[in-house]
Symmetry: C2
Subunit: 279 residues, 2 copies
């Protein structure tokens, strides 16, 4: 039996994104490698059971994988979550998602990391890349400056939005929109007949934006940025984080997994995530 | 001498938007009439001096007008501010802005109102219409629901964004982006050769969005929505409001007025606004 930390590493079948188009897969592997390289010493081995590391629906037409590693007690990392879903659509298409999120605990107020690629077919992609603020940015302009202004996170967003095939993506949930920062990449790429353009955009501007977000997060957030949080503030910060985590479970998982995988599998996967999220 | 409350009313030269294209002018007059009709009993007469009610640059190529009425002591209205600027651009063009903002005081946490039309020529318009949240929306999902979800403020935004000539407007200031709600209309309308389309869009979708925002604000915000704010919370709310007001002065006024009107006029106008804003 392979130790769970090895199962969860890059080379494992779980973290290999077997169904993703090559450009998406290469990008996700690059991002995971950057996170692993930097955070490996701060992360505990994965304790995710095999039936969550890899799962499918009874018909075998939908596949998915979720892996989570919690931060070690001395680290500011709460958890790193990576996942993918693959699902045959009615008709010729298929849907492939890939995500990487990394949350910090309440020893710091530095932002969380979120990267999500949702490809509804070779020509259509929804993309969310952001450092999620953990403070009211209106009340904390210094926070805005430290993590979003001085890091120039707006510049890869702008490069992406200037592309002809790109348009804004607005989550139907106003709450989800509210958790995003003002430099969030939240876009739809619709290549229509120019399907080859998708690969170019993913390797190009999408890759640049995602790598920049991960690098800034590793350097400034997981790397010790943010104000130290005094004991009295921790509870409020945890409550705020909890609201975000609960909403992610609700909108990303509870709304989609049962439909794709049936109730039993969905409950197993959601339950495991709720355990780590403590929600 | 005309009493200032009459000077500030719809029929006066100040609030008549003399330089605006007809569609913009009709819209602004409709919005002001709705606000006046509802709030007149709650507002004190304007005390804005004539040189701020109407001003121009020494060359006479730029004109502007600012009028402000504070809320009466028993009302939840802090102030209503209306303004326009007109400026000949180098070359054949001219710029016309029109704005209406209405802030509440700390007896309530209900949102402020902001409507801004900035027309850089017959074919190009920047548009910001929003109810500015006064709470961290992540911490207060009930606030999001009360003012933004149940009021369906997202629907006129969506109608506008679906138009072919419309694209998102991102303020260069990340702070300004942070003060907007997730249903904010922040758009550029660029009609290019189809200049006649501008009038149609202003009378149509822009008008619908602005009228809806004003109606919701009058009904639910100035009309007594929001949680009553307990004494201990007032200071925090005022501090947050103060940060927003200071930033509006800084980005909208201090950055633009001196260039358009010269230092002396700019200082007079900005000083008057700072007095009402208490910043």
């Amino acid at each position: 039996t392979t130790p769970s930390s090895a199962r969860a590493s890059m080379g494992s079948p779980v973290a290999s994104f077997p169904y993703l188009p090559p450009a998406n897969r290469n990008l996700m592997l690059d991002l995971l490698a950057a996170v692993d390289r930097r955070l490996n010493p701060s992360l505990l081995p994965s304790t995710v059971p095999p039936g969550v590391l890899l799962f499918q629906n009874p018909q075998g037409s939908s596949h998915g994988s979720v892996d989570i590693r919690s931060g070690s007690p001395s680290s500011s990392v709460d958890f790193v979550l990576k996942s993918w879903l693959h699902c045959k659509l009615p008709g010729p298409g298929e849907m492939n998602t890939a995500s990487l999120s990394a949350f910090l605990n309440s020893s710091t107020d530095a932002p969380h990391l979120m990267v999500e690629l949702i490809q509804g077919g070779p020509a259509s992609l929804v993309l969310v890349i952001d450092l999620l603020p953990r403070r009211d940015l209106v009340l904390h302009p210094d926070y805005l400056e430290e993590f979003y202004q001085l890091t120039d996170l707006d510049s890869p967003r702008r490069d992406l939005e200037e592309l002809r095939l790109v348009s804004p993506y607005r989550s139907p949930s106003l709450f989800v929109r509210s958790i995003l920062s003002p430099t969030a990449v939240a876009l739809t790429v619709d290549c229509g007949e120019e399907a080859a353009a998708m690969e170019r955009i993913i390797s190009g501007e999408v890759g640049a934006a995602a790598k920049k977000a991960v690098a800034v997060w590793l350097e400034r957030c997981a790397g010790g940025g943010g104000r130290p949080v005094v004991e009295e503030e921790r509870e409020a910060l945890e409550r705020r984080d909890g609201l975000i985590k609960r909403k992610i479970v609700e909108t990303d998982l509870v709304a989609n997994l049962p439909r794709m995988f049936g109730t039993e599998v969905a409950e197993r996967v959601v339950g495991e995530i709720q355990k780590v999220f403590r929600v």
